[in-house]
């Protein structure tokens, strides 16, 4: 009874704080510009099934994909056990499902246990890849400090989850053997009865009962902690990957988002618009993106979904040849700036309609980074969850070029040549002169 009260109280407190922090994430994402993303729901659901649920793009790199798959499937299956824990905790019962679903129960629990072992192995290998092998993409400069800690915290929490499951189930199977009435027969749990036999044999029943409870509480408390930790962690991808993939771009990669306001301006300069279509009072707004308010909500969703795996950065031609640009850092910067803005609004230091903290994305991202991009789309191809680091880079370039008239001075001669002669190089020849020699030959 006391356990029930404690459990329900913790559940309510966790629920309250979870609601607060997840609604902050929602608000942060919607600091971005409204953008209607709809159409072709068939293709969108197909992407969710194949890419998000099915992890299709993960398998471009087999080893991390397999390891990640173990943890992912273990996570999915453990939800069943989690539901049982919640029911047990709230109603003060023990293994609620055990006598309800009969022979299925040991099958499910044994599956979860096998997956937990695989997930534990994967977790240890992941820790080694980060901290011992120091895989290059996991130790880039933007990973210094918090991002590295964050990744390690998550992995260590996973180890505690598994310890919780096996102390709970291991002690439970010993208690079942001892014939304690309260401990419902679960059928044979292969791994945990082996663990129980090896570690807990010879312990008093009362000690076993304490171990079972400690395992149970450890498991659920780590889960609660995880839930509250996610919104400040890169690990949010376990939830956001699904909507992000659903809303990802379906049009050709080769098409950079059109700017209708500039198109119409140029059309009216060229006399291509009828009078009705020209709005003489239309103010030309600032172009491109300077801050998160100018990016779309999808760009900010991408930034929050990024789990900092760095596959984008590890294929970026600029990054791989020692330039400062890292597509992953662009997404991390957008997320961090958006979070900063949202917190400033929440604490009342700023208001949404009148936001001005004299900072912008350019305090996070330098010109040197955005102008090093070759638009090769390797980052877009590499991302396992279809994030698009390229679009914000181009938006920032647009702000520099169109609003500030800044940018690399080398480009000026190309711009001038385009403007005056319609070619990327200033040329004394006419464009068609290349054919002169052919056409003269054919006359002779």
């Amino acid at each position: 009874m006391i356990q029930q009260i404690i459990f329900i109280s913790i559940l309510l407190v966790v629920g309250f704080f979870a609601y607060k922090s997840y609604s902050r994430i929602y608000k942060t994402i919607h600091l971005g510009k409204a953008l209607d993303i709809s159409g072709d729901t068939g293709q969108r659901w197909k992407n969710v099934l194949l890419v998000a649920f099915g992890q299709k793009k993960m398998f471009k790199r087999f080893i991390p994909a397999i390891l990640h798959l173990f943890i992912y499937i273990a996570f999915l299956f453990t939800q069943i056990e989690l539901i049982e824990i919640l029911i047990d905790g709230i109603f003060g019962v023990h293994r609620f499902f055990a006598d309800k679903i009969g022979f299925l129960y040991p099958i499910i629990i044994n599956t979860i246990e096998c997956l937990s072992v695989l997930a534990l192995i994967a977790t240890i290998i992941f820790l080694a890849r980060r901290n011992l092998l120091k895989i290059p993409r996991l130790v880039k400069p933007e990973m210094k400090g918090w991002p590295t800690l964050d990744a390690n915290y998550i992995l260590i929490a996973e180890i505690f989850l598994v310890i919780g499951i096996f102390s709970m189930n291991g002690a439970d199977s010993m208690l079942q053997k001892a014939g304690t009435d309260y401990f419902t027969n679960t059928g044979n749990l292969v791994i945990s009865s082996a663990i129980g036999g090896a570690i807990f044999s010879g312990l008093e029943i009362s000690t076993l009962m304490i171990i079972e409870r400690v395992g149970w509480w450890l498991h659920i408390l780590v889960v609660f902690g995880f839930l509250l930790y996610l919104p400040i962690s890169k690990h949010l991808h376990i939830m956001l990957a699904f909507p992000t993939v659903y809303f990802s771009k379906l049009t050709s990669r080769g098409e950079i988002k059109n700017m209708p306001e500039i198109m119409n301006e140029v059309k009216s300069m060229m006399g291509l618009l009828t009078e009705q279509e020209i709005d003489p009072n239309a103010d030309l707004p600032e172009f491109g993106s300077k801050d998160i308010f100018d990016l779309s909500w999808k760009n900010i969703l991408d930034a929050h979904t990024c789990t900092e795996c760095g596959r984008c950065t590890s294929v970026c031609p600029a990054n791989q040849t020692g330039k400062k640009l890292s597509p992953r850092k662009i997404l991390m910067d957008i997320r961090d700036r958006a979070t900063e803005v949202q917190i400033n609004i929440e604490v009342g230091a700023q208001t949404l309609n009148d936001y001005n903290d004299e900072k912008s994305l350019f305090d996070y991202i330098s010109d040197e980074e955005i102008f090093a991009c070759t638009t090769c789309n390797a980052c877009v191809e590499a991302c396992p969850i279809m994030l698009d680091p390229l679009e914000p880079i181009l938006e920032l370039r647009r702000y520099k070029l169109l609003t500030e008239s800044a940018g690399p001075s080398d480009w000026l001669s190309m711009f001038n040549a385009l403007e005056s002669g319609g070619s990327v190089w200033q040329m004394p020849d006419q464009r068609f002169d290349w054919a002169k020699s052919l056409n003269e030959d054919s006359q002779n």
């Binding site: 198109m263 638009t375 090769c376 464009r431």
Partner: protein
Amino acid sequence: MKVYTLEEFASNNETPEIVFWVGCAGSFDSRAQRITYAFVKILNEAKIKFAVLGNEESCTGDPARRSGNEFLFQMQALQNIETLNMYKVKKIVTACPHCFNTIKNEYPVLGGEYEVVHHTQLIADLIKEKKITIEGGAFEGKKIAYHDSCYLGRVNGIYEAPREILRAIDSEYAEVKRNRSKGFCCGAGGAQVFKEEEEGSKGVNIERVEELLDVKPDIIAANCPFCILMMNDGVKNKGKEEDVMIYDISELIVQANKW
């Protein structure tokens, strides 16, 4: 070999089967002009009635748009679309993946809808339809390494057409480590070719050329005039310009057939 403009076609009340979009590099750069000549040769051999825009063509606007200069892009693009629509152009072929991408993917929303193919796609079809045949043996004992350009490959998903041609040329052709969707950029895209690179440990083109040289090729085959410019520099930087030649796939066909 005479090359006719759309204007000449129009004044004779004739319509070409296809418009060859030459692009800035193919028109002005002396290295890339040789690709233009090779492709014109192939079109003639296949007896395809084609026209060019000649002086009415201007840059598609790709480097302007990717640099962030949308005004300049719109000016180029809308002008070109005006011209193309005036001549009621239906089908366009180009030897430049950047022109190809912009006309195919970015012109429709601006009012320019055409069927656009890259010259490697057209040539692969011509081989399949037996409109051109390729003499085997010209490259016997020579190893050809193939470089995927970003804008033909990863951006537009065209990996096989150029490879089909290479197989038809009947040479020992080699894949490099990062190929197809993992192809590594030559460093030119995103208007980079028109500016100095940012500070780093090496040039993007050097990184790519080193990878290509790893397979010990006699020839590097490419499908983009800008890749060829960048890799020419890279190969020179490595002191290999005497040993390794860089050609567009169309040039290889002309060489194979001694046209």
